[in-house]
Symmetry: C2
Subunit: 355 residues, 2 copies
DNA sequence: TTGTAAGCGTTATCAG
DNA sequence: CTGATAACGCTTACAA
């Protein structure tokens, strides 16, 4: 038939429901009913069909089922990236949610490009029952348009768009303010800030929290550098900081950049936290293994992913499982990197540590 | 019609090719041809169809296309886990390969359970054009049976099964031997080994490399502990080691366990590498950020993923892109954690360091 | 209880 | 160049 049917290798035709029917001496309808547990099938018929199906190693064609049933049992996910500690944690949560709901995960990366995200969206929207999209762009409405109501849409890290069915995010402002306050409380000033991409909502809010905490404390903020949330940009920012008089502390808008900055400073012989204190945001698993362990704003990344998927599935089933807008509050995680040890002479013992 | 068609929320019917045809005053066949760039369509007709399609925001239904075309443009991937540094890197490579080939990625985790893996396989095999499966179980044949030739199957970290179309892996034995030799060359002995799961092929081979290097050097190996490749098991192993006289060095079968062991030892006040040297396997991104940076066997994880996907796609298109069996050679990555600093008194300066 | 046949949304064949 | 129409593999009214 179809030209494309020419398979490479052994031409092994799929076993279809028709084959099972023929072999069992019943119609395809009966096979379908028998295999899907419909009431109206004789026990005897069902048994025979099941036996034959097993013998023939029949596996229903999921694509055909989807077409007929109008559901795919698949949730599409579009993230800026698929790797790195942050997304890895997120994916763990997404997977967890998908397992709980017995759904598959169709994953795609937008690489931070909104047009790529929209492209992926259009490819996906007819393959999935729902979409979970992380689009930290300021203009999430474009995404909503692309989905066009075809399937439930759950947004991550996005200002609630009127069109989206739900949104999950982190209270970045509060988290950043908490970290900033902590640094100020430790006596560090000025505090430099390494920000994220300008068009990234999370980044904007974190900067805002940083500034508000300074206003509140009546302290003048240190320099604000631009980064892109990647480790390298933190490294570059660190180099930049080294060119002038060092601030007392550096607050990077995420842990990856804090890590990069840490490297740059350390390579220059700057001690953390004795010479410069350091803090990040996200609490990626790596944070506590750094030397020194990194102070940061703890976000339950995986939990967000899980809830997002489960909410998305729920929406597809007509349940409104969660409020439209869900904001997770980060918790301040104080580790050694931010403590004020300027007074200390020799490095303290590994276990102890003065505050 | 179909019961399931009742959608929650606004009942927004999909725009189908039929709608476009009607609006453009042509048949569905012509719409299909016009949109898919067939030669035999008047320029004028094509233009009109395209305009109408855009106006109606028509997006072809991927599922229906798949059913008709017998291809899904999707590669299925089954991994033991979706998170953690190792799989994160692997996924990065898989994504890269998929992008290069313009394919989607259907991801699933087997959580180390072969029956779960088989379940996922059966769900997937009619949704994808090919499968990339990482099944570090000793019996990969079960997987081959489950796929049953329906689509190309590429195995990761598995002994080449007759039934698989290709396999990618790491030369675990050589890598482990190299690390072991390095530790012995540094003068460490005995060396304890923290192994992976017993039924895991990678783990078996790494243990073998460890032993062979000892035989070759005519040195008696230290104790061999059992782990499961996760951080916690490395931690437990570390605790176990602490109960007896400490070995000169510990070689963990992967970096995650090395990390766990490092923690256990450090919490007990043991200095690395002064008191005990440490090495891992994989060179996950985290390894170089540890304190001290971890000596390990460097595996180009992402590269394996990329090649596996591209090979899988190639197989589906009838091309035999790569040899059936592909073994990547790890490179020894020597960092501070394995050096012999037993002679040194006080901790060396951050920059320097004796060998 | 079972079979027939009409969809699900495409593409491809075959006449016109 | 274009239009019917038969697949693709499955589910489900409707009839028997």
């Amino acid at each position: 038939m179809q030209e494309a049917a020419r398979r490479s290798g052994i031409e092994r035709r799929r076993v279809t429901i028709r084959d099972v029917g023929r072999a069992a001496g019943v119609s395809v309808a009966t096979v379908s009913r028998a295999l899907n547990g419909s009431e109206s099938v004789t026990l005897e018929t069902r048994a025979r069909v099941q036996r034959v199906a097993k013998e023939l190693d029949f596996v229903p064609h999921a694509g055909a089922q989807s077409l007929s049933l109008q559901r795919t049992d698949t949730i599409g996910v579009i993230l800026p990236d698929l790797h790195g500690e942050y997304f890895s944690e997120l994916i763990r949560g997404l997977d967890l949610g998908a397992r709980n709901c017995r759904r598959n995960l169709l994953l795609s990366a937008s690489h931070g490009d909104i047009s790529e995200a929209i492209g992926a969206l259009r490819t996906m929207r007819s393959r999935v029952d729902g979409l979970v999209v992380m689009s930290p762009f300021t203009d999430g409405d474009l995404l909503v348009d692309a989905v066009n109501g075809a399937v439930p849409l759950v947004l991550l890290s996005t200002r609630a768009s009127a069109g989206a069915d739900a949104a999950f995010g982190v209270d970045n402002r509060a988290g950043a303010a908490a970290v900033t306050r902590h640094l100020l409380d430790e006596g560090h000033r000025p505090i430099a800030f390494i920000g994220g991409p300008a068009d990234n909502l999370d980044a904007q809010e974190r900067l805002r929290g940083f500034r508000e905490a300074h206003v509140e404390a009546r302290v003048k903020p240190g320099p604000v550098l631009r980064g892109n949330f990647r480790e390298e940009s933190g490294f570059s920012a660190g180099l930049l900081l080294l060119q002038k008089r060092l601030p007392d502390a550096v607050f990077a808008a995420n842990d990856a950049m804090a890590l990069g900055c840490l490297q740059a400073l350390r390579e220059a012989g700057v001690r953390i936290p004795e010479d410069v204190a350091l803090a990040g945001f996200d609490d990626i698993p790596l944070a506590r293994f750094l030397d020194p362990p990194l102070t940061t704003a703890g976000v339950r990344i995986a939990e967000i992913g899980r809830q997002a998927v489960e909410c998305c599935v729920g929406l597809g089933e007509g349940r409104a499982t969660a409020p439209t807008q869900n904001l997770f509050a980060p918790t301040l995680v104080v580790r050694a990197s931010s403590l004020n040890r300027r007074r200390a002479g020799p490095p303290p013992s590994p276990t102890g540590g003065t505050t």
